[in-house]
Symmetry: C2
């Protein structure tokens, strides 16, 4: 992946706020919408989800997930040219207090100020998705398979 393409990936992940989370539910895939926050070096993707949500119940049982970050449809002629990246990784719940929690909470609220109420609710937790690999479709026919290291390298593009 050249530096121009890496820059496209970096800007996509930095710009989009929502991801489409794939989990396993009863052995079948389930896709749901989540807000996400990428670590600046793309070594982790943080979610803040309720254990009342199906996707949270799913990852409590099976941590393997897929996160699709896609350019929002701007009604261009061909939606297949929308850039998108799929990250595959494992989800782990983070501690509900401590320095890391406070750091993530501040970053989360900076990005999602309307989410303040969720920090008053006992059923919400941070989860960290650590990428195993990624697949970037920069547009029609321009697909790149990336290791976790190559994904981190794109963050520095």
């Amino acid at each position: 992946m050249d530096s121009e393409t890496a820059g496209l990936l970096k800007r996509l992940i930095a710009r989009e706020r929502i991801a489409h989370l794939g989990t396993l539910r009863g052995g079948a895939p389930l896709v749901s919408l989540v807000s996400f926050l990428a670590a600046p070096d793309f070594s982790a993707f943080t979610l803040h989800v309720s254990r009342l949500a199906w996707h949270t119940q799913d990852i409590e049982k099976e941590p393997q997930v897929s996160l699709l970050v896609a350019e929002a449809d701007d009604r261009r002629a061909d939606p297949q040219t929308l850039a998108r990246a799929t990250v595959r990784g494992s989800a782990v719940r983070l501690a509900a207090a401590g320095v890391e929690h406070e750091r993530l909470k501040a970053a989360w609220l900076a990005r999602f100020p309307e989410a303040a109420i969720t920090f008053e609710l006992a059923d919400f937790s941070f989860w960290r998705v650590v990428p195993h690999d990624a697949r970037f479709v920069a547009g029609l026919g321009r697909t790149f398979n990336l290791s976790a290291a190559a994904l981190r390298a794109a963050a520095a593009a």
Copy 2:
């Protein structure tokens, strides 16, 4: 689900052109972006995909899929209020010729005129996802579990 909510679901599925497709790949979820066309009665969601694509290879082995149709992020204050619907169902490949193929091809090209080239390529086929059930999040805290029959009823809303 009241008729106003059913109308929201109907308009969401009618308006959006892309879906986030969850498949099983090596036992783990994979989410990728696809264009889709819903049957007018929501009894089927049609995809036109290449067998070179991972998601097509996945559904050839395991037909259980999930399709998330989400309102495009319009940069509102709280992305959790975006409407979205997850359909779970089974995918089956359709015949590459015949009346049904021609009908779908005409409908597909009316919606995706830039996709004409894909009908010249031997690796593309139509697949039909028949819903088993659906889950509609009309906004924060407004979640509805729908049978396939209830999904079809929304199409008539």
